[in-house]
Amino acid sequence: MANTSRKTAYLEGLRDGLPIGLGYFAVAFSLGIAARSAGLTALQGLVASLLCNASAGEYALFSLIGLRAGYLEIALVTLVTNARYLLMSCALSQRIDPHMKDFHRYLFGGLITDEFFGINISRPGWLEPVYYYGAITVATPLWAVGTALGILMGNWLPGRVVSALSVALYGMFLAIIIPPAKENRVVAGCVLLSFVLSAAFAFLPALAGVSAGTRVILLTLLIAGAAAALFPVRGEEAQP
């Protein structure tokens, strides 16, 4: 590949990464507020965000740290909350130029997120690592700094601003789960059943002893397993 086209791809990555980074900053700030209430320092939040790069996964991590959960539970919940990246990684593996140097897989692969996956998979042809790195260059630091600032400044903000920001993450989750639920009845059923059973675990005295992390694992295995057995997805649809 010529140097000019690599430079162009990198600049395009920077351009597409900026709006993603601004969104990351806002959500990371709300994540930082959650991390703060779990007792993390700004440095711990910064490092966690740089290394984990996952809204749902980090939110689960911070909740579990707050609950003094064990390492095995943390590993399992991280596995479950980030399981979609496994799918995205499978999908990206189909778009890799056989001549691409292998170290790229280890480098950008570690930074697969919903948004990076989205912008890369929607570009035609082989995946371009330099384009990916352009997006990472601008968006990932904003994600990490946003988390640290949320931890540092969460308590300087008025209570009602913190209360408002605390729902940002859940809004992002809704944006991921609702559109497919609209298109697919089985997904809609899964989402509804998840809401109902999750509420049952939260409010029924007999189930209230089950930790939030275990609840995620149990319900995921149960509901996604049942859906896969009863309503197997065939062909293109199963392609993430």
């Binding site: 966690a48 990246y85 209570g159 729902v167 809004g171």
Partner: protein
């Protein structure tokens, strides 16, 4: 120290999940059950994490319920991640001014 180890555990698992398929799997997964299971997993996981947590996150319960309803509505209309998140924040902020 326990916090740092927890972060490293999560980081290691997050990294392996992302990198292993990319480096090991050179062909698509064949098992229909496994493909279907992986297809449904993100929706169930995120739904369980969203509810009832979203209504418990705010200072006042009705604001949380409003965030859930408005967020679902905006997402239904195909709002982007950021639009939906901003709509949820805005409705909580405005409602808690008057509640």
């Amino acid at each position: 120290m326990k916090v740092w180890i927890s972060i490293l555990v999560a980081a290691a698992v997050s990294y392996l999940i992302r990198v292993l398929p990319l480096t090991l799997i050179r062909r698509p997964i064949r098992s229909v059950f496994l493909r279907s299971f992986l297809y449904y997993v993100p929706y169930v996981t995120l739904a369980v994490m969203t509810f009832p947590a979203i209504v418990q996150a705010t200072d006042k319960l009705p604001a949380g319920i409003a965030a859930l309803v408005v967020g679902t509505g905006v997402a239904w209309k195909k709002g982007s991640l950021i639009t939906v998140a901003a709509a949820c924040c805005a409705v909580v902020f405005l409602l808690e001014l008057v509640l």
